[in-house]
């Protein structure tokens, strides 16, 4: 048999009381490089082995708080500095809204960091090449027995003395464990080439896949269906009537609701003769007229028809409506001006319906009368 290197001497115990006792005695004897293996954590073992308390709590605290502050800082930067927007009327820095995300990031960073620290830093995992793996000892302590393993590299180690000691404290099946070939060469370095290689490959694969997905695949059907949808866009060519826009003009002769075709376009004199104001100057009609006049006419003509409107200086002011000419126009002639516009004035046909137009003319007449009152009005 080739010269195998000894890793440790192991012993098996049957009950929790025995293993606690064995651990205590081993620690008291002065051994430092030893281990106790149990299928589940046994209460009081930490004290029996005189182990110092685990520091992982501090890892959790530090990583957790780092997560909280990082989340807060990032959200602050994104929402206050980089691209501030007013959302829902909330301030740029809506702290209560940040609390849920801060909390979640805290838990996430603390959990991941603590577990990774435990596995990588404290346990130096993954490590499937430890001397104890694949031994009868490991099979027993995995199942229903408890064991102590005293390692050869302990300064107080002496093969015979250890075997005797283990027998004295009640150990059974005292067996030596030797290193297998691959185990002896096992160096547990986190940065070994295979692992780095794996990371590089993973990085290339993930970033490559993301690039291909986002820039190539998403431009193929069916993802393009949303970009080119079966709907009509107003400015596109129309598929039914070639040479026209999809947003077709109404058919010639179309009349919109509440409007009738105006028969006197371009014919002011005929309008003046043909049309008569159907409304009586009642309080209601004058009130309507006043409202519409103030809305539509006053910006240019002023509130009293004198042409001194609030647009003075910015827009050519119209001549006063109290002139002889206008006072002598019929209601129909004024109606024509509303419908067609005149010089700079546009058509107001679409702004008022027929009743409103006649009511406005009534009101205008009232205004005109106010500056040219008859003797009898004052009595």
């Amino acid at each position: 048999m080739s010269d195998k290197i000894l890793h440790s001497i192991t012993a098996i115990f049957d009950t929790p009381d025995e293993i606690i006792h064995a651990a205590k005695k081993t620690a008291e004897k002065g051994y430092k490089n030893y281990d106790v293996n149990t299928p589940y954590p046994v209460h009081g073992m930490d004290q029996a082995m005189k182990l110092p308390p685990s520091k992982l709590g501090y890892f959790a605290l530090v990583f957790g708080l780092t997560g909280t502050l990082t989340a807060l800082a990032l959200m602050y930067w994104m929402s206050v500095i980089d691209y501030p927007q007013v959302i829902g009327g909330k301030p740029f820095f809506p702290f209560p809204a940040y609390v849920p995300v801060m909390f979640e990031v805290t838990v996430l960073s603390a959990s991941i960091a603590t577990v990774l620290s435990m596995l990588i830093v404290f346990f130096k995992f993954p490590n499937n090449n430890h001397a104890l793996h694949d031994t009868d000892y490991m099979r027993k302590v995995s199942y229903d027995k408890y064991g102590v393993s005293i390692e050869a590299k302990d300064p107080l180690f002496d093969e015979e003395a250890v075997k005797k000691f283990l027998a004295d404290i009640g150990g059974k099946e005292i067996t030596p464990i030797y290193y297998d070939n691959e185990e002896i060469n096992h160096k547990n370095v986190i940065l070994e080439p295979k692992f780095i290689g794996l990371l590089v490959v993973a990085f290339i694969v993930v970033s490559g896949a993301t690039y291909v997905m986002m820039n190539k695949v998403l431009f193929l059907p069916p993802y393009t269906w949303m970009m080119s949808q079966e709907k009509v866009i107003a400015q596109d060519d129309d598929s039914f009537f070639k040479g026209t826009q999809a947003m077709l003009k109404p058919v010639a002769g179309t009349v919109s609701r509440e409007h009738l075709p105006y028969l006197y376009m371009g014919k002011p004199e005929e309008a003046a003769k043909a049309m008569i104001n159907p409304l009586l100057p009642s309080e209601k009609n004058l009130a309507l007229g006043k409202k519409k006049y103030n809305t539509y006419c006053s910006p240019c003509h002023g509130y009293f028809g004198e042409g001194d409107s609030r647009l003075r200086g910015q827009f050519p002011n119209p001549p006063s409506l109290h002139s002889e000419k206008v006072r002598n126009w019929t209601d129909g002639r004024i109606y024509h001006v509303i419908m067609e516009g005149q010089n700079v004035m546009p058509s107001y046909a679409s702004q008022m319906n027929r009743e409103e137009r006649w009511a406005t003319i009534l009101y205008l007449r009232a205004l005109q009368r106010s500056l040219n009152a008859k003797e009898t009005d004052l009595q």
Binding site: L51, L56, A60, N128, L132, Y143, P222
Partner: protein, 455 residues
């Protein structure tokens, strides 16, 4: 009636099994080939999953017009199902983490299974936000990464808080579950003779050696994870409730939503866990590990959380009246007497009335009865999310916008598919991983700990 002797501590594991037999009985399903019953069950769940897959494929092809979502009920079954499944997941974390913090030993028989259910429930839940965002193939827009639009996600929106919350919940639950599995993978590795299985178990066990120097850190990390998972699970369904409560909708904007949703989640989760465990313990002969006492305690939790939900209903009604806010008062009258009254009464009877039967020990300890009540609780909780979401939307501030929402066949297909996914994953789980934590149950068996307490 037999008198209870309060001076005696009840065994967590009945029958004083040896560590050996615990190990054997838990590992047995993994070593044996699946039998006919398994395949029948699997074919049922996979068919349900298939219905869901077809419904989803149709939804992708034809668009979300296939669903019932429309104006005014823009949030329909996808959100209801999402909240339902996330809620079911909560029982698992509560059993693993919160009962661990309370040092309740009876959790050991069910913790592994419940955590697995959490993970599967969250996976199922995640389908829904994925499909009901406009372009499911661009989900990364939800995350804050530098992009060409120079845009960041809206951190003020509770829907974004949901992204963080549910993904954190999934990640941490997965880590917690995995950390618990490491010693069991090691035990499986040392027990199996199949070369391929041994390789797989070795890789996943990371080389665990059952060393006490490792157990020491392991227990600390387990405690830390439990300590984090507890507020995490409360926060997840709280943030889900914020989706509704931050709005100004009558029936949605009430401050009691966060603890009400959390209680409701635990309520439905425990009912689901109880239902599934009734089958598992029978099929795999775990009756002495997942004891009737365990089931009874779970039913007590169901009773407690059901009462909390009932309290929340009462508070909502009272304050709706007390506030004098008419839209709020109308919203609640509408729930009781409006077009969805049928859903409302299903909800109230299943959530408030039937669980009260658990006051009686006879009901708590009779398996068929508790199973039925568990099913009713889940029905009631689904309807609760339906009532909250749909009634408020279908009749809100503007009467001219009122409409009656009807889910479509596609909606139901996706819902059936979600149950299919959940139960398929669960069935596969029973055959690939130990559904009971070997190490934890060994640790609480009688005579497993040293007699003088070790202190």
């Amino acid at each position: 009636m037999s008198a209870v002797d309060y001076s005696q501590e009840l065994s967590v594991v009945e029958g004083k099994p040896s560590l050996r037999s615990i190990d054997d009985v838990i590992v047995k399903p993994l070593e044996s080939k699946p039998d006919k019953k398994f395949y029948i069950a699997l074919s049922v769940t996979v068919s349900m999953l298939g219905i869901g897959a077809i419904s989803l494929a149709l939804s992708f092809y034809y668009g979300t017009g296939l669903w019932g979502n429309n104006n005014p009920v823009g949030w329909g079954l996808p959100i209801v199902n999402f909240v339902f499944w996330v809620g079911i997941g909560h029982a698992g974390t509560l059993i693993s983490a919160i009962l661990f913090l309370f040092r309740q030993k009876w959790r050991t028989g069910i913790a592994r299974f419940a955590e697995g259910m959490t993970i599967f429930a969250v996976i199922t839940a995640l389908i829904f936000p994925a499909i009901h965002i406009g372009r499911p193939w661009l989900p990364l827009y939800l995350l804050p990464y530098p992009n060409q639009h120079s845009l960041w996600p809206n951190f003020i929106s509770p829907l974004l808080w949901d992204v963080f919350a549910v993904s954190t919940y999934f990640t941490v639950s997965l880590i917690f579950w995995y950390v618990g599995l490491i010693p069991d993978f090691a035990s499986l590795r040392d027990k199996t003779t199949n070369k391929i299985k041994k390789l797989i178990y070795s890789v996943f066990s990371l080389g665990w050696r059952h060393s006490n120097r490792h157990w020491q850190h392991y227990e600390m990390v387990y405690l830390i994870l439990a300590g984090f998972a507890t507020p995490l699970v409360l926060s997840v369904h709280t943030i889900v409730s914020y989706d509704f409560a931050v709005s100004i909708m009558p029936g949605w904007h009430t401050t009691i939503f966060p603890p009400y949703f959390v209680a409701g989640a635990v309520f439905s989760g425990f009912a689901m866990v109880q239902n599934v465990l009734i089958f598992i313990r029978k099929i795999f002969n775990f009756e002495h590990i997942i004891t009737l006492g365990t089931l009874e305690k779970m039913n007590k939790v169901i009773l407690l959380t059901g009462s909390l939900v009932g309290y929340a209903y009462a508070m909502e009604f009272f304050i709706a009246w007390y506030s004098g806010v008419q839209p709020e008062q109308f919203a609640f009258m509408n729930r009781v007497f409006g077009p969805y009254a049928w859903a409302y009464w299903i909800m109230v009877s299943c959530n408030v009335i039937f669980p009260q039967l658990f006051w009686f020990k006879k009901v708590r300890t009779t398996i068929p009865l508790m199973f039925v009540i568990g099913v009713l609780v889940n029905v009631g909780m689904w309807f609760e999310r339906f009532v909250i979401t749909v009634t408020s939307l279908s009749r809100d501030f503007l009467p001219s916008s009122w409409a009656y929402f009807k889910p479509t066949l596609t909606d139901f297909g996706i819902l059936i598919g979600s149950f299919g996914l959940f139960f398929t994953l669960l069935l596969l789980f029973t055959k690939t991983l130990p559904v009971v934590s070997i190490a934890e149950v060994k640790a609480v068996a009688d005579d497993a700990q040293p007699s003088h307490g070790g202190h």
